[in-house]
Symmetry: C2
Subunit: 226 residues, 2 copies
């Protein structure tokens, strides 16, 4: 059985990607919850060379980083990437684009599933990230989404990589239109995503560095809704 | 035949990763050089949805992002990842770690193959990135490098993801010790890496935003060697 080391479900967007990959595999896995405090913890090197989550253990094989975990599991469990080669190439491109990019979206809209807060006006860089996500969702649905509610057909690793974005949009009131908006609703309604959300809502740990109300205190005060 | 869109060989570290993946595939490919100017160029959307390089075209299938290109080619051409499953899981983990991390190393030691410049003292964050790379190289060689000069056995995608680091180390005078140092020398001596270096040295375009002597002008002046 696989063992998956995960951070706080309210905050850890990369953990969510790794966990969705494990759920998608259909294989049984044991979760080891790690309480993150927002700072580097060398103790975590006991299970992950980077001290970061997620990390997957398969016996003596240790895989760290969400995308490596995704590919490791996809090799062993068919159907995690789209089966059509063109859809699979597209799915890998958009997952890799999320993996290495969107730094403003990730920094300025930290995942905090329990929170609801509007931090408009968005910076130019944040607005550009949000526009690119809308383009990806719309174009993926147009090209490969036919007959299913998800990015490239049935729920796949491509959706796993955008699930944290859906929680961010719910938290920060980002409402894409048309096909992108319908996809956002479908993603938030997926049973795996809802299962994670319920677990996140049961958590009580607060990490100041990732807490929107603390991150944006001055901005919210200036806007009169702090 | 594949078509690969690449940026300036002197500067574009991600292009180098994509190009090494294409070379590793053993398949013929056509290169389309794109002259980067250091700013977003919407014209590049004609071949890449992000306007970034590298991008690979395989007929009507377009793959962007270096890691997606690597996985796309690895599906079609055996042997690009290590064949042993444990070595392959490790190789994917270290490639993914490079793909999503090391932002200080990437920003503070921009790839500029033709340049030689020492920018010590390094910031704490930069020194931590350099220490982690040394750990990855040493540990990869210890675990999986036996009998070959490279990270996980024969030259693989794992090496492709660290090749730009080798050029950075050559430029900025970073000299890891022991197994990591021997690996650095082997990587810089690999025929594919040397082929890229020769092409880079033939280029003349200067991108101010990526030019170490411009980036570090004040620091070098203060150190008396500008």
């Amino acid at each position: 059985m696989y063992t998956l080391y995960l951070g706080n479900k309210n905050y850890s967007s990369w953990s969510l990607r790794g966990w969705l990959a494990a759920k998608l595999s259909g294989a049984p896995f044991r979760e080891v919850p790690i309480t993150l405090r927002g700072t580097y913890n060398p103790d975590n090197r006991a299970f992950s060379p980077t001290a970061l989550v997620p990390a997957l253990h398969d016996g003596t094989i240790h895989v760290w980083d969400s995308l490596a975990i995704a590919e490791y599991l996809a090799e062993r469990h068919p159907g995690m990437w789209p089966t059509d080669p063109a859809a699979r190439a597209w799915a890998r491109s958009i997952a890799a684009e999320m993996h290495s990019g969107f730094s403003t979206l990730r920094n300025d809209m930290t995942m905090c599933i329990r929170e609801r807060v509007d931090v408009r006006p968005w910076s130019e860089s944040l607005a550009a990230n949000i526009a690119r996500v809308e383009e990806i969702w719309t174009e993926s649905r147009r090209r490969f989404g036919q007959g299913d509610a998800y990015l490239c057909g049935p729920f796949s690793l491509a959706d796993a990589f955008y699930a944290p974005v859906a929680f961010r949009y719910q938290t920060y009131g980002v409402q894409p239109k048309g096909a992108a908006g319908a996809y956002l609703a479908a993603l938030l309604a997926h049973p795996f995503v809802r299962e994670w959300e319920q677990a996140a809502l049961a958590e009580t740990t607060i990490i100041d560095a990732d807490e929107p109300r603390i991150l944006y205190r001055d901005k919210l005060k200036a806007a009169g809704h702090a």
